[in-house]
């Protein structure tokens, strides 16, 4: 019997449940290895070789190399694990979170200073808020796409 997962109708959100965790096991464990400075240096010296030492899928490796956090998450990554990649790159949580919206760093920071993203229109798929699939990517990137 399928388990009840009432969180699948929230736009722009992947809930890291046991199923995602199973998919992302090696991707997330690779991220954990970046908690030692020695491993961070080895990864930076040759990312591909470092990734090849882990039994991750080719897609997961490509997503890491591209630093596409949305792609990483679709393949089972979790933000707290993926944050170790950001830390290795010298990125803050704000830069990492912002990168998933399509906004520039300045645009995202300005949105947060203005009180953050509203929940209105973003509670359920099918509404019309800025996090809905039909409005991606956001910010300057989104405007270019619409032109």
């Amino acid at each position: 019997m399928a388990l009840d997962k009432p969180y699948q109708d929230i736009p722009g959100t992947i809930i890291f449940d046991a199923e995602q965790s199973r998919k992302g096991y090696w991707l997330n464990q690779f991220c954990m290895s970046l908690m030692s400075s020695e491993n961070r240096a080895r990864f930076k010296a040759d990312e591909r070789a470092y990734l090849d030492a882990w039994p991750m899928s080719e897609e997961q490796k490509q997503a890491v190399l591209a630093r596409d956090l949305n792609w990483c998450m679709r393949t089972g990554g979790n933000i707290y694990f993926l944050a170790k990649i950001g830390a290795t790159d010298g990125k803050s949580f704000q830069q990492m979170a912002g990168s998933m919206t399509g906004m520039t760093e300045d645009e995202y920071r300005a949105m947060m200073l203005a009180g953050g993203r509203s929940a209105d229109g973003n509670r359920r798929l099918g509404e019309d808020g800025d996090a809905q699939p039909q409005h991606q990517p956001q910010g300057a990137a989104g405007k270019k796409g619409n032109a």
């Binding site: 400075s37 953050g116 929940a119 973003n122």
Partner: protein, 284 residues
């Protein structure tokens, strides 16, 4: 006899720790955040707790996907600040209270809550940022700290109801410890925030303030709130707020005692991606 004298609630945003460690607290962006804790610092210097029972979550630091305990009680004697990828925070080592922790383990497990006991782990920003907010930057933390790590990273996380109940069991455990100890319980994390996907940056000021109202006046009702409401209204990482119900469940009014006294309420947006909330409740 040991006694829980007060509960403290606060967000534990990592950027707050970084701002402190890098000397940015006076900057326009950070000044209002730290000002919200001026009262708490003064208050806690007068309260002088012997032990803080600190409810927090590990952020893929001590617990990778190798091991995912739902409730992990730190029974060890010391816990080092972790290297989360930026190098360890320059904060003092956290010293536990193994005797009280062992007593709590004995009592709470026999009270039907199946805890995981941890003698060795590093502690991340979830635990050290609240200490920094309340104690500033001392050479050594002025009290012992029992870490209590709750899984809110991988779903399903414990329900608000379960958290509220375990808080009540923790109060019973502390009050049956013979040594005279002034114990505080802290609930940390939240408030609204989402760190992922196209919905990153979600903040819900109205919902957060309603949560604070109900935590103070209607915690039993609040504890019935399903997970999905937290995620939908307060963002995927807003689920951390279930941990505040553990601290609230440990207050004496839940066991028929008098209502707590509200000593501080603070709310500010933003700190990095997050809404910052802070409460101090004292048992009369």
């Amino acid at each position: 006899m040991a006694r829980i004298t007060a509960s403290v609630y606060t967000s534990h945003v990592p950027a707050i720790g970084a701002a402190l460690d890098l000397g940015k607290t006076g900057e326009d962006y950070w000044q209002p955040v730290f000002a919200g804790y001026d009262f708490g610092k003064q208050w806690i210097a007068e309260q002088k707790p012997d032990v803080v029972f600190l409810v927090y979550n590990d952020h893929a630091t001590a617990f990778s996907l190798d091991l995912i305990p739902t409730f992990a009680l730190g029974t060890g004697s010391e816990f080092k600040p972790a290297d989360e990828g930026w190098g360890p925070r320059p904060v003092p080592t956290v010293y536990g209270h193994p005797e009280l922790a062992a007593h709590i383990a004995q009592s709470v497990i026999q009270d039907d809550f199946d805890l995981t006991l941890v003698n060795k782990m590093d502690v991340d920003h979830g635990l050290t940022v609240p200490l920094s907010l309340m104690f500033g930057q001392p050479e050594a933390w002025p009290c012992q700290v029992i870490p209590f790590a709750v899984n809110v990273v991988q779903y399903p996380v414990p329900s608000g109801r379960r958290c509220f109940q375990i808080g009540q069991a923790i109060r019973r455990a502390v009050e049956s410890f013979d040594e005279d100890l002034n114990v505080q319980i802290w609930g940390t994390g939240g408030m609204s925030h989402q760190l992922q996907g196209a919905r990153a940056g979600l903040i819900n000021r109205e919902w957060d303030n309603r949560f604070l109202d109900r935590l103070i006046d209607d915690p039993a009702g609040l504890s019935q709130l399903p997970h999905i409401d937290y995620v939908r209204e307060a963002g995927s990482e807003g689920i951390e707020l279930v941990m505040w119900l553990i601290a609230r469940g440990a207050m004496v009014d839940i066991a028929g005692g008098p209502k707590p006294v509200l000593r501080k309420r603070f709310y500010h947006v933003p700190a990095s991606n997050t809404a910052v909330g802070h409460l101090i409740l004292e048992n009369p």
